[in-house]
């Protein structure tokens, strides 16, 4: 949007190159080189590392479990995220500002705190709701629902933060026009609002997916680390690394990072298509 200014700081070649050097060096040492090691260690023996990892039933189960939890929590979060965004932007109600601030809370909370919070409420022996829920057949802690809840908690703000600014920018003109022409709320949403925010939703979904695949601390606290049952891929990585199976740890790590990076690449490719301002 703004063309590189030719009259300001960037015009001095010395400053420009110093800037480039510092930034590139920082990113290389902090980010690029360590990440390269992940790739190197995974493929140190060609494909055997990954093949052996995939031959381990615990690994396969952990990857499946991670995928299931990620998809479920992203799906739930998208629905609520879009809904909450609409409410925040289009409606006035008491506590709107407070809700807006609270939505951002999960970004500042340690994953271990998330786990503790959920355990205090949903544990079957001493939680607030846990015993009642388990008496009615729903086990939350040490089971799938708990892991999905933990993941939902940490990804909660991601969709909302993407959609809210776009909704604010879109304005209500078209929606009000549609309503005045007789469309009901659902039609207005489906045909006017949703297409307007679809890229924001996609970006939010992809970010949440990447984040959900990588969740570690919260799920570890809630789930109980039962191999082949409640052990997600990230927890498996720690266990394998400490269990003298570093190669498997690297292979699984690589697969997780690859999946998340693919998500980001997809978004990066999609972004130009949404049209320049």
């Amino acid at each position: 949007m703004s063309s590189p200014s030719t009259t300001v700081a960037t015009s001095s070649p010395v400053v420009k190159w110093v800037l480039r050097l510092v930034v590139v060096a920082y990113l290389f040492l902090l980010l690029v080189w360590p990440t390269w090691f992940l790739v190197k260690n995974t493929f140190a023996n060609g494909m055997t590392g990954i093949q052996e990892a995939l031959a381990d039933p615990d690994v396969v189960h952990a990857l499946q479990l991670t995928a299931q939890i990620a998809v479920a929590s992203v799906a739930i979060n998208t629905v609520f995220g879009v809904g909450i965004s609409l409410l925040l932007v289009r409606q006035r109600f008491i506590g709107r500002r407070v809700l807006s601030v609270l939505i951002d809370l999960p970004l500042s909370v340690s994953p271990v705190v998330v786990g503790l919070a959920l355990v205090l409420v949903y544990n079957g022996q001493f939680g607030w709701f846990g015993p009642w829920l388990e008496a009615h057949g729903l086990q939350v802690v040490f089971a799938m629902p708990g892991m999905i809840l933990a993941t939902c908690f940490v990804i909660l703000p991601l969709v909302v933060r993407e959609v809210v600014p776009v909704l604010e920018e879109l304005g209500e003109d078209q929606e009000q026009a549609a309503r005045s022409l007789g469309a009901n709320a659902w039609q207005t949403f489906w045909r006017i609002t949703l297409p307007g925010i679809r890229w924001a939703v996609v970006y939010g979904v992809v970010l949440s997916l990447a984040r959900a695949l990588g969740e570690f601390g919260a799920v570890k606290v809630v789930a109980g680390n039962v191999g082949g049952e409640t052990q997600v891929a990230t927890v498996l990585v720690q266990q394998k690394y400490q269990g003298f199976e570093q190669d498997t740890a690297y292979s699984v790590s690589f697969m997780l990072v690859l999946a998340a990076v693919l998500c980001l690449v997809v978004v990066a490719l999609l972004r130009p298509k949404e049209g320049k301002k």
């Binding site: 990440t35 992940l38 260690n41 970004l107 705190v113 409420v121 003109d173 949404e274």
Partner: protein, 282 residues
């Protein structure tokens, strides 16, 4: 992002700030109700359970927890490290954002993607990755495992994108007219940067700094393998919390968690106030 077009009959688009429809419709009320129930069950009730558990023992729980030198040490290390890393990020993040927006050389798209990698990487993998390069088998002879440098390094990795991503859109929107005007009036490069550009970026930098600090004090997975979790030396609050939790001492865990929530809240509020002050001064 797509922008709405003006209304068909040619009237200028109305100022489109937040909601203009007054009270809630029936459908919206239901939606709000459902959303609030979900939000409560997921976030509000669990977080208040922590505060209740911590407060349940009265002040003695907090006293007991803070009396432990190990816990105090963990708190100090965590907060100070996160502050240091946030300060570095405020500088580096702005520089990186500047390069991404103002300096278009080949490979910039790749760099843009790289910045998002800390978002994409599971924290436990971050630990593994840093351990490969800066741990016992370091190919460059830099071994910082089990030291406080490891804590700083891991925090720097995971908080890298925050300030970059808050500053980047502001820089993109920034009109160069003011800069050109300043330059034509004879202002030097750094003066222009300091007086024209930086003030516009300050809100974004501080917003990103709040996120970076909060993320830093919450970090857990990446520190497990590389910091050594040495009590009184490289143990961070999250690790301490986890030990309390697994050890069945839920009251202490809740007390530490409450402290962390308060610290995060304080940081966010402080940065917001500082940012307003700085913005007003200019």
């Amino acid at each position: 992002m797509a922008t709405a077009s003006a209304v068909a009959d040619g009237r200028p688009a109305r100022w489109r700030r937040s909601a203009s429809s007054g009270s809630l419709t029936a459908g919206s009320s239901l939606g709000l109700g459902v959303a609030m129930i979900w939000f409560s069950l997921l976030v509000l009730i669990p977080l208040s359970a922590i505060v209740v558990k911590a407060a349940g023992g009265g002040w003695s729980t907090f006293e007991h927890v803070l009396a432990s030198e190990q816990t105090r040490s963990a708190l100090q290390l965590t907060v100070l490290s996160s502050l240091a890393v946030t300060a570095v990020n405020m500088v580096m993040g702005t520089m990186i954002a500047w390069m991404l927006v103002r300096d278009r050389f080949r490979g910039m798209g790749l760099l843009d993607l790289l910045i998002d990698i800390p978002f994409a990487m599971p924290t436990i993998v971050v630990g593994l990755v840093l351990l490969s390069l800066y741990g016992p088998d370091s190919p460059i002879g830099v071994q910082i495992q089990n030291t406080r440098w490891a804590v700083l390094l891991a925090m720097a990795f995971v908080t890298l994108p925050f300030i970059v991503r808050t500053v980047q859109p502001v820089l993109e929107e920034l009109d160069t007219d003011a800069e050109d005007a300043a330059a034509s009036l004879g202002a030097g490069r750094f003066t222009t940067f300091r007086r024209v550009i930086l003030p516009a970026l300050v809100p974004a930098i501080f917003a990103g700094a709040a996120l970076s600090f909060a993320r830093g004090i919450s970090e857990y997975g990446s520190l497990l393998l590389i910091s050594g979790n040495l009590p009184g030396r490289t143990e961070v609050v999250s690790v301490r919390l986890f030990s309390f939790l697994e050890g069945g001492n839920l009251a202490a865990a809740a007390a530490v968690a409450t402290l962390m929530l308060v610290v995060a809240l304080l940081a966010i509020v402080t940065l917001d106030v500082v940012q307003r002050r700085v913005a007003r001064r200019v």
